[in-house]
């Protein structure tokens, strides 16, 4: 395996300044998950729990879990496509305990203004690799949120150790998505003309 920046939560302002788009990170600490249903309820005004972990990351994911005694083990944690959750971005960030997002595909450029205002950033992890990513989750517990959210739709706190991801949108406005898209556009122009 290749070397990555050891990102131990909480994610705070100095760490955000240190990280630039394109850096591979290994996240250790407690992150929380929310899928489409949780986002729908959040958008409809469901209040976020007060006691979320400090400086945590929101993982766009509906984890597949298995109960083991009083604990939950992760079977598969598949990142979802983040773009569909973009409208809820400021609702999460204004909670102030959430400093980053984790998912697939990144947000649009307008996300940067929220990142600057609230101090935030975006990490991408490996799409389709859910069963492998589950190996970095030590345990999971449910966080009470919303109404009638069950199983993967509920909000979960995942304890992760060296969870692999790549910082693709940093606090200062650089985007790996933008950089590579521009690069492939230039290359295409040179190939087809």
């Amino acid at each position: 395996m290749t070397v990555a920046y050891d990102l131990t939560l909480p994610l705070d302002h100095p760490k955000l300044l240190e990280l630039t788009a394109g850096t591979r990170v290994a996240i250790t600490g407690t992150i929380i998950t929310a899928g489409a249903e949780a986002h729908r309820q959040l958008d409809a005004g469901a209040p976020l729990p007060e006691d979320l972990p400090e400086g945590t990351i929101l993982f766009h994911c509906r984890p597949e879990l298995k109960r083991r005694g009083r604990h939950w083990d992760a079977v598969s944690v598949e990142p979802e496509i983040s773009a569909s959750f973009e409208p809820s971005l400021s609702a999460w960030l204004s909670h102030r305990r959430i400093r980053g997002f984790l998912g697939y595909g990144g947000f649009g450029e307008s996300a940067f203004q929220h990142f600057r205002r609230f101090t935030g950033c975006y990490f991408q992890t490996y799409a389709g690799a859910g069963p492998a990513l589950a190996e970095f989750v030590t345990t999971a517990r449910e966080i009470p949120f919303g109404k009638g959210l069950k199983g993967p739709d509920a909000m979960w706190a995942l304890d992760v150790v060296e969870f692999p991801a790549i910082l693709t949108m940093d606090f200062e406005g650089s985007s790996l998505h933008r950089l590579l898209r521009e690069g492939s556009g230039r290359k295409l122009a040179s190939l087809v003309d």
């Binding site: 394109g22 591979r24 509906r62 597949e64 490996y126």
Partner: protein, 388 residues
């Protein structure tokens, strides 16, 4: 549950967690091809690990499949309506045990349906083949198995339509998907007159074994050129940058008027989930065969090459595979009820398919000319992918 439904369910389950060996092998090669320490390499290493984990635990990788697409090569006597209802029943069963994405949402932005889990109605394409047995292929699409489609007229490139023009259009389509296609996957291309059946024919190219060279020389060259150039775009694995944007390109062609060509492109994700089984007349699975046969041969009287591959595959490996697949039902406790995060537009898969069916079998006969499939090694006997 009838034997046919049972077989289809087994096929759906297995397809969700078992990546075909040719795809696995290509991903291994791509992984070694990416420089140590790059994001592309890290992505592919994790992907390879995910494929292993999925096989060990029989857990779907790439998210739960959202849409199913069956391709059936069978004798003309095959009862199609019986097959269609069995496929729908198998999809419901798969949704119930949590292999398929559930629940369905009737409209984008709508509320999930409550109550019984219902799987998306599978799409089925029937192709006539003079065989006594039924060969059944399944492609599944999930969040990551998503395919990107593109149909472009050659008039988009100035001048008379040429293969260079085709190459440009396909490269443009690949670049447009930057990262969204969750590559590196396979690019299926169809060159012909009709865009609607073109997309189906392009998709059928995804069923070809990755390493199989096109029998038509100019097309083989075109395939190699598109793959090489697409991999210069720098999109890389999962759009993170790198040398491997795609694994392979497969092109099919049908005659068209000189100035009226349509290029249809289907781009698969790295999770190219497809499996083939041979069914006995009673609906039971005779053998698993991930080394996919070519499309049906031109001469209808000849035995299709898949008969042979199937016979070869029906060895100890296949039996072992069956045993494994049988135990897949009880997996996935927490995720038994997964609401669909995405919307689906699945049609009830019967009548509207027909014109495309006919067109496609014609295509199939034309393209699969001579040359036999080099029966790739039975993937089931090679349990562990070549690693490290």
């Amino acid at each position: 549950m009838s034997a046919l439904v049972q077989s289809l369910l087994e096929l759906i389950q297995r397809t969700a967690w078992d990546l075909p060996s040719d795809v696995g092998k290509s991903l291994d090669l791509a992984c070694r091809g990416e420089a140590e320490g790059t994001n592309g390499r890290a992505a592919l290493e994790t992907i390879r690990r995910a494929v292993e984990c999925a096989r060990e635990n029989e857990t779907p990788f790439g998210g739960d499949p959202a849409a199913l697409r069956f391709t059936v090569d069978g004798p003309a006597t095959l009862d199609r309506s019986e097959f269609l209802s069995a496929a729908a029943e198998a999809a419901h069963q798969a949704a119930t045990v949590g292999v398929l994405r559930t629940p369905m949402i009737d409209l984008p932005g709508g509320r999930p349906r409550r109550g019984k889990a219902i799987g998306a109605p599978p799409a089925v394409t029937f192709r006539d083949a003079s065989k006594t047995r039924v060969h059944l292929r399944l492609l599944t699409y999930g969040e990551v198995g998503a395919v990107s489609l593109d149909v472009l007229p050659t008039t988009d490139v100035p001048g008379r339509p040429t293969l260079e023009g085709v190459e440009k259009l396909v490269l443009t389509a690949i670049r447009k998907q930057h990262g969204r296609a969750m590559g590196p996957g396979v690019v299926g291309v169809h060159i012909g007159a009709d865009p609607v059946s073109g997309i189906a024919a392009a998709e059928a190219e995804l069923l070809r074994p990755i390493e199989e060279k096109n029998a038509k020389r100019p097309l083989a060259q075109l395939e190699a050129r598109i793959t090489e150039r697409a991999n210069q775009l720098g999109v890389g694995p999962l759009g993170l940058g790198g040398k491997y944007t795609i694994l392979a390109t497969h092109v099919a062609v049908d005659p068209a008027p000189a100035d009226h060509w349509t290029i249809s492109t289907v781009i698969s994700a790295w999770a190219l989930r497809r499996q083939t089984v041979t069914l006995a007349p009673d609906g039971k699975i005779v053998s698993w065969d991930t080394a996919l046969p070519r499309r049906p041969k031109k001469a209808p009287k000849e035995e299709a090459p898949c008969e042979e591959t199937a016979a070869e595959a029906d060895d100890q490996g296949a039996r072992e595979a069956k045993k494994k697949a049988g135990g897949a039902t009880s997996k996935k406790p927490a995720a038994a009820k997964k609401p669909a995060a995405t919307m689906k537009t699945a049609s009830p898969a019967s009548e509207p398919q027909k014109p495309a069916v006919e067109k496609q079998s014609a295509t199939a006969k034309k393209t699969a000319s001579a040359k036999k499939t080099t029966a790739a090694k039975n993937p089931m006997t090679a349990k562990k992918p070549a690693k490290k």
